[in-house]
């Protein structure tokens, strides 16, 4: 799906008075969300940065109807809302969960998995800033290897939990990864997801200047570097078919990738490992493992002969 920037709605989605930090990727993402969906949607927001970004009641800095909900209940409250709308004859209202990585991969994971398995007709967007930023940068299961947080002072020892892959394993209708560094790609994915009935999941990488320790002017650039280094491949899984997003395809070739050090050195959270080649090597190996998995996914979720052969041999 191509997105014509000229045709994107100009209506303001983020208002003065919202409480986001400078360079916040979540407000960038929200703008794109509104551009993609227009007016006929409601948001369900479990605890996280976006609970605060709305600003102080009775006003709101986000131009959308929002149901704020407890941390673990993003997907379940949204599933209920959708059923509620359907039961009173309002089948057209889109219900969107806007949850952080903790609300998605940690405390909210059970409800997410439940809604995915039931194929509830909601769009779940995980805004992944790779830690509990709202409470002061504590590690989550989606914090990457080596990253400093206030609960991993010498760097996290475990790799990032791969939630999009787990969602694919649920066999849902649609899974995509996106980055705030590539707005039109994200908008196109949201638009496509909104046309599918059933459970849709989009994983939006959201580089956080405060938690990742970088210049707030660089949010978009770091969002692009995550893709260009191969750390965060952009792809779509749709009805059993997997494909890399066009702008990420070239990074399948390792020689086309930007060296990961270019990404790491811009971020204070990696400061302690910049001069440790063995640590950099671990991250490079991780990138290799990610692309190995992409290769497997491309083969496994391919309607062509190759997939049948592969699955037959398992």
């Amino acid at each position: 799906m191509t997105v014509n920037i000229k045709r994107i709605p100009k209506k303001k989605f983020l208002m003065p008075g919202n409480a986001a930090c400078p360079g916040c990727p979540e407000t960038m993402g929200m703008r794109y969300l509104k551009m993609a969906l227009g007016d006929n949607f409601v948001m369900v927001i479990p605890a996280g940065c976006s609970s605060v970004i709305q600003g102080i009641a009775p006003r709101s800095g986000i131009y959308a109807p929002i149901l704020n909900i407890v941390f673990a209940a993003g997907a379940s409250a949204a599933a209920g809302m959708k059923a509620g709308f359907e039961s009173i004859g309002r089948k057209d209202v889109e219900v969107v969960v806007w949850a952080g990585d903790g609300g998605t991969g940690d405390i909210g994971f059970q409800a997410l998995s439940g809604a995915a398995e039931r194929d509830d007709d909601i769009l779940y967007i995980c805004v992944d800033n790779e830690a509990y930023m709202n409470t002061g940068i504590q590690r989550s299961s989606l914090t990457p290897y080596g990253a400093w947080t206030t609960t991993t002072w010498t760097g996290k020892r475990e790799h990032k939990k791969n939630i999009p892959l787990i969602m694919i394993a649920h066999g849902v209708k649609y899974v995509a990864t996106a980055s705030v560094g590539y707005p039109t790609d994200f908008i196109a994915k949201v638009k496509k997801a909104s046309q599918i009935r059933g459970f849709k999941y989009i994983h939006l990488l959201a580089p956080c200047p405060v938690g990742w320790r970088f210049d707030p002017a660089l949010t978009g650039e770091i969002g692009q570097l995550a893709v260009k280094t191969g750390l965060f491949p952009l792809y779509e899984y749709e009805n059993g078919k997997f494909q890399l997003s066009p702008l990420a395809r070239r990074y399948k070739d390792p020689s086309k990738r930007v060296p990961v050090i270019e990404y790491l050195k811009l971020q204070g959270r990696y400061k302690h490992l910049i001069n440790k080649p063995e640590e950099i090597k671990k991250i490079e190996e991780y990138i290799e493992s990610i692309w190995y998995m992409i290769d497997v996914l491309e083969k496994a979720f391919n309607p062509k002969e190759e997939a049948r052969k592969l699955l037959g041999s398992l």
Binding site: S51, Q54, P58, N68, A73, E117
Partner: protein
């Protein structure tokens, strides 16, 4: 009107059907499960036009019906014991949002050790949350209260969710004849869904973002005011239900043989039936005793109790739940209500984990209490009726255990 032999759980399901609920969501837990089994059957057979969300946990069950209700649907869930405790966070969130909802709670002990039998520890653990909380004595009342819960919860003077308690197994799995009201009559009595706001694209409502402390404070104040208003609404609904369907229960509390009573048993739930039986026997011996059955724990029927009990010689409170480190939960409520009055007062903790306390034991406790009071008013906040197996081996007051 049709009379059917129903378990308490099926009585709940029939009430939910009569209320034309739009969305049901629940997770299995004994002894609640047959409520949602029955509702699933009704929905799949097309007898009830509703959506069923078969969630992966109770936390999600309440969040789902809360989401549905926020979108403008009439929604229902049911749970028990650990399921209710697991929901606890959403219990508070739903009440604070002022979203009308109805939940059946099949009361059951909390572990460890695992136990599926009745006590009131689970439902009374929710008492500070802002839900209207009622507990039934028998299956007919289960149906009537569940139906009334929709009307009470959706009344603009209330706009608070409501839970209806029914005792695990004793009501939930025991059959009794139940009058099922006519659908047409229910339709003319229960108005279409009302709620303070709807989260929808055109409503531009944002619910739950950070508010100034003073506003948060005032939202609590407003809930407290609605709880007070709910007392009137509950009495009204009980009265009009009686006029239309032929059954009234006395509103917030039921009084049994209270008129000329000097002594009162305060009790809640199915074992109130045992207390009534004990009172019947004692009345034959001219003992002036009555039963005050708490039907609504929240709002707490302070005024009504003062009206009934202010002339009493003695009040004996039976508790099926205890606040550890303090007293039985109903006892502390009764004691704070009667505080300025010089009335002999005793609290008994009994029947935890489904341990049986029959009418004869209640009878004996009443006589013992009267005898104690006649020697001079007493104030005994907590005594335990120990299971027969252990009686005599341990003191009836846990306080004395330390002394030994």
């Amino acid at each position: 009107m049709v009379v059917k032999t129903l378990t308490g759980n099926y009585a709940v399901a029939y009430a939910v059907k009569l209320a034309r609920v739009n969305v049901v969501s629940a997770y299995p837990i004994t002894p609640q499960t047959t409520i949602v089994e029955k509702l699933s059957e009704m929905i799949e057979k097309g007898e009830l036009n509703a959506r069923m969300i078969r969630v992966e946990s109770e936390h999600s069950a309440l969040a789902a019906v809360y989401g549905a209700a926020s979108a403008g649907a009439r929604a229902f869930t049911a749970t028990s014991s650990h399921g209710l405790l697991y929901m606890h966070e959403v219990v508070w969130w739903a009440a604070g949002s002022r979203i009308p909802l109805v939940m059946a709670v099949v009361t059951r002990a909390i572990g460890p050790p695992w136990n599926i039998h009745v006590d009131h520890q689970d439902i009374l653990d929710q008492r500070d949350s802002g839900w209207i909380i009622a507990v039934a004595q028998e299956n007919q009342e289960v149906l009537d209260l569940t139906l009334q819960a929709f009307k009470i919860s959706e009344d603009p003077r209330v706009y608070l969710p409501m839970m209806v308690g029914l005792d695990g197994f004793i009501l939930s799995h025991t059959t009794a004849p139940v009058d099922i009201p006519d659908q047409e009559l229910v339709d003319s009595w229960l108005p279409p869904r009302r709620q303070p706001y709807i989260i929808a694209p055109e409503s531009e409502v944002v619910m739950g973002n950070i508010a100034p402390d003073e506003d948060h404070f005032m939202m609590r104040y407003s809930m407290a005011a609605s709880m007070e208003a709910a007392k009137k609404v509950i009495e009204e609904v009980d009265r009009e239900y009686g006029e239309i369907f032929g059954r009234s229960y006395g509103g917030l509390v039921e009084c049994y043989k209270c008129e000329d009573a000097e002594y009162f048993v305060v009790i809640m739930g199915s074992w109130a039936g045992d207390a009534k039986k004990a009172v019947d026997t004692l009345r034959e011996q001219n003992v002036p005793v009555g039963v005050v059955r708490i039907r609504f724990v929240r709002p707490w029927p302070r005024e009504k109790l003062l009206e009934i009990l202010s002339g009493a010689k003695g009040v004996l409170v039976f508790d099926r739940a205890v606040s550890m480190g303090s007293t039985g939960i109903l006892f502390s409520e009764v004691a704070q209500t009667l505080y300025p009055l010089n009335i002999s007062l005793k609290g008994l903790v009994a029947g935890l984990a489904g341990v049986d306390v029959g009418p004869s034991r209640i009878e004996a406790e009443i006589l013992k209490f009267i005898k104690q009071t006649e020697e001079g008013a007493i104030y005994t906040p907590t005594e335990w009726i120990l299971p027969e197996k252990y009686a005599g081996r341990y003191p009836s007051s846990p306080k004395e255990v330390i002394a030994k």
